[in-house]
């Protein structure tokens, strides 16, 4: 009892569906990350949003292809009626299809890797010789920031102040449990670990305020371990720094 109907249909509507869904996916990909993600205030964040867009665009035809295939199958090849469906065509292998599919996914993956590794390198390469060093200290459940003031004094603040256009190097640590130091508008984060200093660098390129949040679960008031950051002009930053009382 083999199936006389070989279930071959014109694939035209499948290709149309694929094209429409891909176009839709690309449109969303171009628009959504920039719209949904926080305002970009650094090159790092800009790169992060851009990478979201690029990856989404690359993934759109794949997702659209799978959805189009699933919908096309549902539209054309579902068995009608209550009877037991006859056997479908018994093809088991298609070397051509497997190789095409695998090669395509390898190529896509390689593209994503090249882009990702390039973005990673571009972001790490930005270190200048003279960054502003800010020590970030997390403890349950507050952030504090330490700056070098005039004449070797230490200035402390619970808000984070950064000058625009200068690279900032954060030395991040914790006094108790692990916290996660994250500034969403800066597009980067690193954990604050007890007994350890981790580095993070960023160059703010836009004036304004930004958020600082904790991304590692740190106990009772984890949700409230937030503070504000401010990007100032270099001169305003110097004025602010000099106006702070020095800590011995």
């Amino acid at each position: 009892m083999t199936n006389s109907n070989d279930n071959k249909k014109s694939l035209k509507s499948f290709y149309w569906l694929w094209a429409i869904l891909t176009a839709l996916g690309i449109a969303v990909s171009l628009y959504a990350p920039g719209y949904l993600m926080p305002e970009s205030m650094s090159q790092t964040m800009h790169l992060s949003v851009l990478t979201m867009v690029v990856f989404s665009v690359a993934a759109a035809p794949v997702a659209a292809g799978v959805y189009a295939a699933a919908l096309y199958i549902l539209r054309n090849w579902t068995h009608k009626g209550d009877s037991v469906p006859a056997a479908g065509p018994a093809f088991r292998e298609s070397g051509k299809v497997v190789i095409t599919w695998t090669l395509t996914s390898v190529l896509l993956t390689v593209f994503l890797l090249i882009w990702g590794l390039g973005a990673l390198a571009a972001d790490s390469a930005g270190s200048t010789a003279n960054p502003l060093v800010v020590k970030v200290v997390g403890q349950q459940w507050v952030w504090s920031f330490e700056y070098q003031g005039q004449n070797g004094t230490t200035v402390m603040s619970n808000d984070l102040y950064l000058p625009k256009g200068r690279e900032v190097l954060f030395h991040v640590t914790s006094l108790d449990v692990t916290h996660g130091f994250w500034a969403p508008q800066m597009g980067t984060q690193v954990d604050a670990n007890d007994e350890t200093i981790t580095d993070l660098h960023v160059t703010p390129n836009k004036l304004g305020t930004f958020d600082v949040r904790c991304t590692q679960f740190c106990g009772l008031n984890h949700a409230f371990m937030v503070t504000q950051g401010h990007v100032l002009t270099p001169s305003a930053f110097t004025t602010w720094l000099n106006a702070q009382p020095a800590r011995s």
Binding site: M37, T44, A70, I73, W101, Q216, F217
Partner: protein, 621 residues
């Protein structure tokens, strides 16, 4: 070690008598509570009260007392203890433990029949998912509006941990437990598992571990997410001890189950059942079992060292005493990422199996399907540090781990190829299992693509630790694994009960769950993209709308799950009779009667081809 052949000493001499004939879940609970109490009383009495670690040591010993008492009470140790005093089980004893002529009572017992264990796993999975689901609803209800209103913050944090762990346990066993036990041995043409007693042991050890985990909620003082990494664990009370012990005991269960599955498939296949003729489901079961055998020892190790830190003041993970939390993080994720595929692979394999039968076609490119699963399992052991991209540990390893992680999209892509290829040009039989398969496809593509973002370090530096990650892995676990598991349930339910899972209720459940998943987790992606971190008990007003939507979606999923649960319970005795082979499939489990007899086959079948030649009439001797 020799025993004489004529040596025969039955453990229980007279029929129907002896304490061991009366052991069941109730005696196990009594034994467990008694064991816990005895261990608590002794340790509480003798340990010095002024030492910091005393309460932890007492808690660990109490937990050990529970599990030993539970094992004794259920009868898990009867056979080994009897063997120690020189008496072996007779054939009659074995049949008793296999549940012969005991009706439904055997489902409450230490039963060695793999089909009974399978049913027990169905119930256990539903209990775990139900408990974890209640916690999920509590969490989502707390997050319905900004601010802290419904659940105390400390309690909320405990809920986050226990919800996570319960769901992980539930999903590890959701497919491999019920169907790895019920159908895989029959699919191979075996009369039972290779080690029937170990099979029962794995199930009842899981029950014991779940008891410990729920105790955590009762004693409270657990204040971290499910990953529970040092140093914050140092601040947790005795809830942490029960949590660690629960995991330690659980790894015993999975190890025993994994060894059993692999041995069964490799040694007990019937004549003619070559590896290439195995139903694809069997491959999924053994690949996941093998991966589990690699991964779970790390889990045991993490928890054992953690318990030592807490009870003997060692400092493996305590930074200010010379240890490092990063050691724990590494060990944990060496387990943690393979574990995701221990969960995923059986569900994928079940979906392949259902797709082939329902499309009335062979699995497309069977070898690619197997290679994809093996490739995924192999890669998964090389990617653990992508969970640690933002910790600051080994920044120069970021690149290599990014490479291995993104390579995962290749075997994952093969799964879609196999699925689409299998359904392509088929005569798709749109029954309840098929519906869940299509739901799986739709959700799994979203799960996969959002994973690609997180594998990329520049994006992960932004999204790590946010609700985006939570939404991503819920698309994996709920949207994909749970949908696959429910498809498998709908598919094999008639083999267990002789009745269909109700088509109409099942479809209502599907649409509620499917729409619920999209609403909940698409909105959660947006919360994450907009900057909301995970594990928040409260949040800023900018996250208000998306969280409200997520909560509404979560209620829809709950409604869907309740309908499904109602259908599973109702149809067990009142569903439409299905006969022994409702899907007209060819694999061996459909060729035995329903329910399958004890020991499955009177005469072991001889297999001449794989089960996917739907064009031919079935040959039944």
């Amino acid at each position: 070690m020799t025993t004489t052949l004529e040596h025969k000493a039955p453990v229980i001499k007279h029929e129907g008598g002896g304490l061991a004939r009366h052991q069941n879940f109730l005696t196990a609970m009594i034994g467990g509570v008694a064991g816990a109490f005895i261990a608590w009383a002794i340790s509480h009495h003798f340990f010095a009260q002024d030492v910091r670690t005393t309460s932890d040591a007492v808690a660990v010993l109490t937990g050990c007392g529970w599990i030993v008492g539970f094992w004794l009470g259920i009868g898990a140790l009867n056979a080994p203890l009897a063997w120690l005093i020189g008496s072996d089980q007779t054939r009659k004893d074995q049949l008793y433990y296999a549940g012969e002529d005991q009706g439904t009572k055997r489902y409450w017992k230490y039963c060695t029949d793999h089909k009974v264990v399978g049913v027990q796993y169905i119930v256990m999975t539903m209990v775990l998912l139900g408990a974890g689901g209640i916690l999920a609803m509590a969490i989502r209800t707390e997050l319905i509006v900004p601010g802290n209103h419904f659940v105390d913050q400390q309690v909320y944090n405990g809920f986050i941990a226990v919800h996570g762990m319960l769901m992980i346990l539930a999903l590890i066993v959701a497919v491999a437990g019920p169907w790895g036990n019920f159908v895989v041995p029959i699919m191979c043409g075996a009369k039972d598992m290779a080690f029937p007693r170990l099979n029962a042991l794995s199930l009842w050890t899981l029950v014991g571990a779940a008891g410990l985990l729920l105790t955590t909620l009762a004693v409270g003082s657990l204040t971290m997410g499910w990953v529970v990494l040092a140093p914050i664990t140092d601040q947790a009370g005795v809830g942490m001890d029960f949590f660690a012990l629960a995991i330690l005991v659980f790894t015993v269960s999975t190890t025993v189950a994994g060894v059993n599955t692999i041995c069964t498939v490799f040694t007990m296949r019937t004549k003619g059942m070559t590896l290439e003729r195995l139903p694809i489901m069997v491959w999924g079961a053994i690949i996941a079992a093998a991966l589990g055998l690699y991964a779970f020892p790390y889990f045991s190790l993490v928890e054992a060292l953690q318990i030592l830190d807490r009870t003997f003041s060692t400092s493996f993970f305590i930074g200010n005493a010379g240890g490092t939390g990063w050691l724990q993080a590494n060990l944990f994720w060496l387990m943690g990422h393979p574990e995701v595929y221990v969960i995923l692979i059986p569900a994928v394999a079940a979906v392949f199996e259902i797709a082939a039968v329902m499309a009335r076609k062979p699995v497309f490119s069977y070898r690619t399907a197997v290679a994809g699963m093996v490739g995924l399992a192999g890669l998964s052991i090389l990617v653990w540090a992508h969970h640690m991209f933002t910790t600051g540990w080994a920044p120069t390893l970021g690149g290599p781990f990014m490479v291995t992680t993104e390579l995962i999209s290749i075997p994952t892509g093969l799964f879609f190829l196999v699925l689409i290829g299998t359904l392509w040009r088929g005569n798709i039989w749109m029954k309840l299992p098929t519906v869940w398969v299509f739901g799986f496809i739709a959700n799994f593509i979203i799960a996969g693509i959002t994973g690609i973002y997180l594998s990329d370090i520049p994006i992960d530096n932004q999204l790590h630790g946010t609700m985006f990650v939570t939404a991503h892995f819920h698309y994996v676990f709920v949207g994909s694994v749970l949908f696959g598991a429910i498809g498998a349930l709908a598919f094999w339910y008639p083999k267990v009960t002789g009745r269909y899972l109700d088509e109409k209720l099942g479809r209502i459940s599907f649409w509620l769950s499917f729409i619920g998943v999209q609403v909940t987790f698409l909105a959660m992606f947006i919360s994450g993209l907009r900057g909301m971190p995970r594990r928040y008990a409260s949040y800023a007003f900018i996250f208000e709308h998306t969280n409200f939507i997520s909560t509404m979606g979560a209620y829809m999923i709950m409604a869907g799950m309740l309908v499904l649960m109602g259908a599973v319970i109702y149809c067990w005795n009142h569903g439409e009779p299905s006969g022994s082979n409702p899907w007209h499939a060819n694999s061996l489990e459909w060729l035995v009667s329903t329910p399958p007899p004890l020991e499955n086959f009177d005469v072991l079948p001889v297999v001449t081809e794989d089960p996917y030649n739907f064009g031919k009439e079935l040959v039944r001797s």
